[in-house]
């Protein structure tokens, strides 16, 4: 479990996060949503340790990140898998080398064992036989899948995904969503997804945290988001006519 308490983060005079508190549980896909500029990415980067918050605490299964020494922090980071918005695959390395990289850095396995693990995760994301391709030779969806494979190769306890569906067609986006959900449940890990894609939110968001102006404006499940009367959430989530209609149908069916 990841517990976040009263997180504050500023850049110069801009106060981005204004006391965000929440919890993210194991085996669930947790979604962070909000408008552009609401502080989602800063929040995610604080959780990842890429930004240092001025106030507040982040505890990974009871281990408060800011109180750990540098070695313990590095150790904790090996338990984290991250899928970046642009995949962030290393251009100069092949798919196989990209996925093997964390193993080479932190695992004490033989080359044969590492290769077996790489092939296992590649198979898990349905990308067998792509070992020797370079990232530039892959489509956006394939790059995301390699990114997921690299994120899970070390058997992480925590998986972070920044806008996993950006730039993908709806069909590929669904494949990625399903993959994230399956991996979360299969390995019983804490997954946190930062997303703009309302389809994903409705489909896989077992817990949703809505940020507005650096504060937590709402939190609940993908079932509760249909019935919430929170105006800010309604205005954001149901801004499109399609989602308005979906909500109406859901509410009517619930009444019946």
């Amino acid at each position: 479990m990841i517990e976040v308490k009263e997180l504050h983060k500023s850049f110069g005079t801009a106060h981005i996060l204004k006391g965000v508190s929440t919890e993210f549980e194991k085996g669930k896909v947790n979604m962070i949503i909000g408008q552009s500029g609401s502080g989602k990415t800063v929040f995610l980067k604080c959780l990842l340790g890429l930004h240092v918050p001025e106030e507040g605490s982040i505890a990974f299964d009871g281990r408060i990140y800011s109180k750990l020494d540098i070695d313990k922090k590095r150790e904790l980071r090996t338990e984290i898998g991250m899928l970046f918005q642009g995949s962030a695959l290393f251009d100069s390395l092949t798919v196989e080398e990209n996925i093997m990289f964390p193993l080479k850095m932190f695992a004490s396995q033989s080359k044969k064992e590492m290769l077996a693990r790489v092939n296992f995760v590649l198979d898990r994301v349905n990308l067998s036989n792509s070992n020797h391709k370079f990232p530039a030779e892959l489509s956006g969806g394939m790059q995301k899948r390699v990114g997921i494979a690299r994120a899970i190769v070390m058997n992480p306890k925590y998986l972070f995904c920044d806008e996993p569906n950006s730039g993908l067609d709806p069909q590929t986006a669904t494949v990625i969503d399903n993959l994230i959900q399956e991996i979360t449940e299969e390995y019983n890990i804490v997954t946190i997804v930062n997303s703009h894609d309302m389809n994903s939110v409705m489909e896989i968001g077992k817990k949703i945290v809505f940020l507005k102006d650096g504060k937590k404006a709402w939190e609940g499940s993908n079932k509760e988001i249909f019935i919430t009367d929170n105006e800010v959430v309604i205005n954001f989530v149901y801004s499109s006519n399609l989602f308005k209609k979906v909500r109406e149908i859901y509410l009517n069916e619930s009444k019946l």
Partner: protein, 246 residues
């Protein structure tokens, strides 16, 4: 940001760079890759330029020394001195600052803007140590070798120019080369090269690592890296010359 802040940040960066590598076999792999990228791939241009620079120095000296009272062996002597003292170490380093400096700044800068450096940090990798230390070690060990080759080819280029233009004779040129040869000058050139190599690897790395924005900013960082590396080399050269030869 003011200059002092940049200097402070640069030295803080060096503090992270010079740490024990997290995995020696990964470091070794990176080191060989950097020797190829920063060293071997620069060999061609350095050989080409130094050969012709040596030739031009010899021709210029020969054309300017037209008095019958000045011996012809001075052409070989001047070419040797110029190549060993300045053209070898300093000129080669300025060329490398352009070629290698822009490569280092743009490759690290691209990694920064495409979140590859964030990916390393999230994994728990000391990104500065992983990316920059192999470059520094590769440059420190390989550039003195490049400069020795440049010196040799420059002197050889001077001889070839003389033979082809018939401005002086081989015997006079070799006499000049042998005249007042001081091995300390080679040592001085190599000491300078080691320091320049350090600047060539670290200053562009600083510009690339701390870039913010997109591809345009990476381009700007690359240009700034070349400018500041060249300025640092020229300034350092001035002080080193005074300290080691003065």
């Amino acid at each position: 940001m003011n200059y002092l802040e940049h200097i402070g940040k640069y030295f803080l960066m060096l503090g992270q760079v010079f740490k024990r590598p997290q995995k020696w076999n990964v470091f070794r792999e990176m080191l060989f890759r950097e020797i190829e990228d920063l060293g071997l791939k620069s060999l061609g241009i350095i050989m080409f330029i130094s050969f012709f620079i040596g030739g031009v120095v010899a021709i210029q000296t020969a054309l300017n020394v037209d008095s019958p009272f000045i011996p012809k062996y001075l052409i070989g002597f001047a070419t040797k001195r110029s190549m060993i003292l300045e053209f070898g170490p300093t000129f080669t380093s300025v060329i490398l600052a352009g070629k290698v400096g822009s490569y280092i700044a743009s490759s690290i800068g691209t990694m920064r803007v495409t979140e590859q450096i964030d990916a390393l940090e999230v994994m728990g990798v000391n990104s500065l140590n992983y990316l920059v230390l192999p470059k520094v070690i590769a440059a420190l060990f390989f550039y003195p070798l490049l400069v020795l080759i440049a010196m040799f080819l420059g002197i050889f280029g001077g001889w070839a120019a003389g033979v082809l233009t018939d401005l002086f004779h081989t015997v006079d040129y070799i006499d000049g080369l042998q005249l007042d040869f001081n091995p300390y000058f080679v040592k001085y050139a190599l000491v300078k090269t080691v320091l320049f190599a350090f600047v060539i690897a670290t200053v562009p790395a600083y510009h690339g690592y701390y870039v913010k924005g997109g591809s345009l900013e990476v381009g700007r960082a690359s240009t700034e890296a070349v400018v500041w590396t060249s300025v640092s080399i020229i300034t350092l050269n001035y002080f080193l010359t005074q300290m080691l030869l003065g």
